[in-house]
């Protein structure tokens, strides 16, 4: 008898949980704010500034999505998440979208029941060495000591790469980026390996950046992108096409400054369709017709978000590289708005 009651209660909770996750868009509209999961601190990607306002590349996407759904890039609640709590927070409904430099992998997509809505940054694992070490390539580093963060995919990539090339190395396990910088500068290891975007930021923070260099090899693929829960395709579509809108905006020359002007109507039908002066794409998503305008107003197009947070207009100064638009020979590509 008691057991029946218990199971009944669990079933009831499970049912209501199922019902609530049926319409993320309606939930977000009802709440009036978008709950966005970000990193507790990742240089250039997400961090609180001196006024407590969240900044960064990952944050920029969240603001765009809030703009698209709710009309304002500030109708948003940032939930700082550690790498250990991020997927559970998404699964349990605490956040509506996770934008936390998360690598798109098979098991995360399939096994953990999540939907990656695209790639907003193509990262890869690289190596930093001191210039006076005289090393030109990772292949010169047989027998080197290497600082590496434990429990990450970078650790496995490193092992694979050195085994494939028949080389040995001595790992110096460390916990986080700050500790890694200290160890590397103190000479505890010959080289520090992690994602190249983080390495570039770290190098720029050194007293003499020119004494250090990144080696040309990129030994892994780390496509980073936002993700949502499995099972709400409409919400996933909104998240995906908001990202696509930012990319297309850069391709078509729509910027934060001129988007309002362009929204009045232009000679280019694709711009008109996207910004809502022609057609009914917004209604198909269940959004207001100026959704893309508000998404771009929140922080600019893809190129602007990139350059303001991690690109040439930021202290990190990453070059676009493979993250250039496909028209410039990069990998950033959006399906057409039609």
């Amino acid at each position: 008898m008691k057991k029946t009651v218990l199971f009944g209660a669990i079933a009831a909770v499970g049912l209501t949980a199922g019902m609530a996750s049926a319409g993320t868009l309606d939930d977000v509209k009802a709440k009036g704010e978008l709950a966005c999961g970000v990193s507790t601190g990742s240089p250039g990607f997400s961090f609180p500034d001196a006024d407590g306002r969240w900044q960064g590349f990952d944050v920029g996407y969240c603001r765009a999505l809030a703009g698209a759904v709710l009309g304002s890039g500030d109708a948003i609640k940032f939930v700082p998440l550690s790498s250990k709590t991020r997927f559970a927070a998404l699964g349990s409904g605490e956040i509506d979208v996770l934008s936390r430099n998360t690598t798109w992998t098979f098991s995360r997509d399939v096994d953990l029941k999540q939907t990656f809505v695209g790639v907003d940054y193509y990262d890869g694992q690289g190596f930093m060495v001191k210039t006076d070490l005289g090393v030109e390539s990772v292949l010169d580093m047989d027998g080197a000591t290497i600082c590496i963060q434990t429990g990450t995919t970078t650790e496995l990539n490193l092992a694979d790469y050195f085994r494939t090339n028949g080389m040995t190395y001595e790992p110096v396990p460390i916990e986080g980026n700050a500790e890694a910088q200290q160890q590397y500068l103190a000479g505890a290891c010959d080289s520090y390996t992690t994602d190249r975007s983080a390495l570039a930021g770290t190098r720029m923070s050194f007293e003499n950046p020119d004494d250090h260099m990144l080696l040309p090899e990129i030994i892994s693929k780390e496509p980073l992108g936002p993700l949502v829960r499995h099972g709400d395709d409409n919400w996933a579509d909104i998240a995906r096409w908001t990202l696509n809108a930012l990319i297309t905006a850069e391709e078509l020359g729509i910027t934060q400054a001129n988007v309002l002007e362009m929204a009045k109507g232009t000679d280019n039908p694709e711009i008109n369709r996207m910004l809502g002066s022609e057609g009914s794409l917004a209604a198909m998503l269940g959004l207001e017709s100026d959704w893309a305008v508000n998404a771009i107003l929140a922080g600019g197009n893809y190129g602007e978000i990139f350059s303001n947070n991690i690109g040439e207009n930021s202290p990190i100064g990453l070059s676009r590289g493979v993250n250039a638009l496909w028209t410039d020979g990069g990998l950033i590509y959006s399906p057409p708005f039609r």
Binding site: S39, T40, S42, P48, T85, E94, G201, S205
Partner: protein, 432 residues
């Protein structure tokens, strides 16, 4: 009269003691150079202290206070103190100290946590010092509700109606025994307020809000952070864990089978689980179990878990105190004809608690420092901010300065707690 001229007629003046027996020289000889091994130890210690200070002091004082980035700090230090000098970049503290103290609390409302903290000292003063008038105790009872209202803001009716629940419990204890006996009154005091909070409180609050919407600007939990969160969690945990711990310790010794089993089970389960696990349960798992849409505040969840954890440890500390009491004390209390609660309140607990003071306080200190674990579940307490602030590219590469600042703040709190416990031990010392 015999001639007594060989006897002095006046006293000699006091001579100063030998120079080796007074002042600095004596102290140094006795304490630092009393023997050869002692002298060697002294010299080595002086050298170690000098070595450490000569490294730290120039770093701490040849520093920059007003730069806007780590590079700015380096440029300023190189310009002021010469190339190659390594100095602290206190500018990061200068820019972010408010964040480290208050998190993202709205700047114009900083006075609210400050007032709350000041009132906290008023509220705990009657508990800490017997010289404070007992009537202040009344304020201590109101304080938790006032503090909640000041920190989170919102309608004033929520804390007032919640407080009414306590009043109901009090009235039940005073007036019910005449009607339903003391056991009935105890149960009533437990059940009635809960019924009140669950069933009646909601409509009353809505009604009052409709009539007179009095309130102050609300602040969300996710805007709180920094040292404020450590104090909120630490103080709530401390204040709640002591009474719960006492009840658990008494329950564990109870002859009533069910009470005893529940207490032992609770204590052993909670003590057997790491705090981190409980925090993960609070942050992640509870969301799956609770009905969706329930907005069960993360800070509240963490406070509950931390309280459970601390209470289980506290129960064992107090059990130690109870076990140390001679059996004669229990028997004497019984012989005086005191009932269980009177004997416990007047004879057993005062002595058991006194014995346990050092352990209780060290538990409190441990609990206060354990609050930094919440950074792992994404709350931006000082340790969480210590990771978030260097993510700003301006401060990327800063490590020591932030940790030194946090350590200093924690040290002030824990050191005062430890001093207070020593004061209390001296005051309560009745041994011979």
């Amino acid at each position: 009269m015999s001639d007594q001229s060989y006897v002095r007629t006046e006293m000699l003046g006091e001579k100063p003691p030998p120079s080796s027996q007074v002042g600095v020289v004596k102290w140094v000889m006795e304490n630092l150079f009393s023997s050869i091994p002692n002298a060697i130890m002294t010299i080595v210690s002086v050298w170690v202290v000098y070595y450490i200070l000569s490294g730290i002091l120039p770093w701490a004082f040849q520093s920059s206070w007003n730069a806007t980035s780590l590079h700015g700090c380096r440029a300023y230090i190189a310009e002021t103190y010469g190339e190659g000098v390594e100095g602290a970049c206190w500018s990061v503290i200068n820019e972010r100290w408010k964040q480290l103290l208050f998190g993202f609390y709205p700047k114009e409302l900083y006075w609210r946590p400050v007032v709350t903290l000041a009132l906290m000292f008023v509220a705990i003063s009657p508990v800490l010092f017997t010289s404070v008038p007992r009537k202040v105790m009344l304020f201590s009872v109101i304080y938790p509700f006032l503090a909640f209202w000041l920190l989170w803001g919102g309608s004033i009716w929520l804390p007032i109606v919640a407080f009414l629940g306590l009043v109901i419990a009090y009235l039940a204890i005073v007036y019910l025994p005449a009607l339903v006996g003391s056991l009935g009154a105890t149960i009533g005091a437990g059940v009635l307020p809960i019924l009140f909070w669950i069933v009646i409180a909601g409509p009353i609050i809505d009604g009052l809000n409709g009539i007179a919407p009095i309130g102050i600007e609300g602040v969300d939990s996710d805007q709180m952070g920094g040292f404020m969160i450590s104090i909120i969690i630490g103080v709530s945990g401390i204040a709640l864990s002591l009474p719960i711990g006492i009840l658990l310790a008494l329950g564990r010794q109870s002859p009533l089978f069910i009470v005893k089993t529940i207490c032992v089970g609770f204590i052993e389960f909670i003590r057997g689980v790491p705090l981190i696990t409980l925090l993960f349960v609070a942050s992640v798992l509870l969301n799956y179990f609770l009905p969706p849409g329930t907005n069960f505040d993360l800070i509240l969840r963490v406070i509950i878990m931390v309280t459970f954890f601390a209470a289980a440890y506290m129960a064992e500390v107090i059990r130690g105190g109870l076990a140390a009491l001679p059996k004669g004390q229990y028997e004497a209390a019984d012989a005086l004809g005191l009932d269980y609660w009177k004997a416990t309140r007047l004879i057993i607990m005062p002595q058991a608690l006194k014995i346990s003071i050092p352990n209780i306080v060290s538990n409190f200190i441990g609990l206060f420092k354990d609050t930094t674990l919440v950074s792992i579940i994404g709350l931006l307490d000082p340790m969480g901010l210590a990771r978030a602030i260097p993510a700003d590219q301006n401060w990327n590469g800063i490590v020591w300065e932030i940790y030194v600042f946090i350590a200093l703040l924690f040290w002030i709190f824990t050191f005062s707690m430890s001093r207070y416990s020593m004061y209390l031990e001296r005051k309560l010392a009745t041994g011979h």
